[in-house]
Subunit: 88 residues, 2 copies
């Protein structure tokens, strides 16, 4: 089962009331001497998302895990229940 | 097992030679009448990533799946083997 299928299957068991955005970015097989750009990317990504939906910084949870040759950045954003889509 | 753990476990079985970025964005429990911003977000996200690494459009695969109240956008980017980190 691929990541897509896993994600798709597991969303059924998640909180059914709240709209949310889940973002996962994995950088795989990079060299240890290379600097990480994921923390900077995280901030830029949030700025881009704010163009489309209203998000409160308190409703954003971030985790960054690093190992020898892999980094995984995960962001979870709970969206406000009132009208929040700036495109609507 | 959470999404993070799944991703972390499964990367071990992936192609071990190639550096890559995998990005998954899920928008959950949104209302059908709301327009989708994920295709626009996808383009902006790629522009942001290009600030940090050289990527070739041919090395980017994208899938977007929509159901009644969920959208999942997945991007996989194979990074070139030569020096590609613009921060280095």
């Amino acid at each position: 089962m691929g990541l897509f299928d896993y994600f798709h299957a597991n969303r059924k068991s998640a909180d059914v009331a709240k709209e949310r955005l889940s973002i996962l970015i994995a950088r795989d097989h990079f060299h240890r001497h290379q600097p990480s750009f994921l923390p900077a990317l995280q901030n830029e990504l949030l700025e881009v998302i704010k163009k489309y939906v209203d998000i409160d910084q308190d409703d954003v949870t971030v985790s960054l895990d690093r190992e020898e040759d892999c980094e995984i950045l995960e962001l979870n954003i709970a969206l406000p229940e009132k009208r929040h889509n700036k495109e609507a």
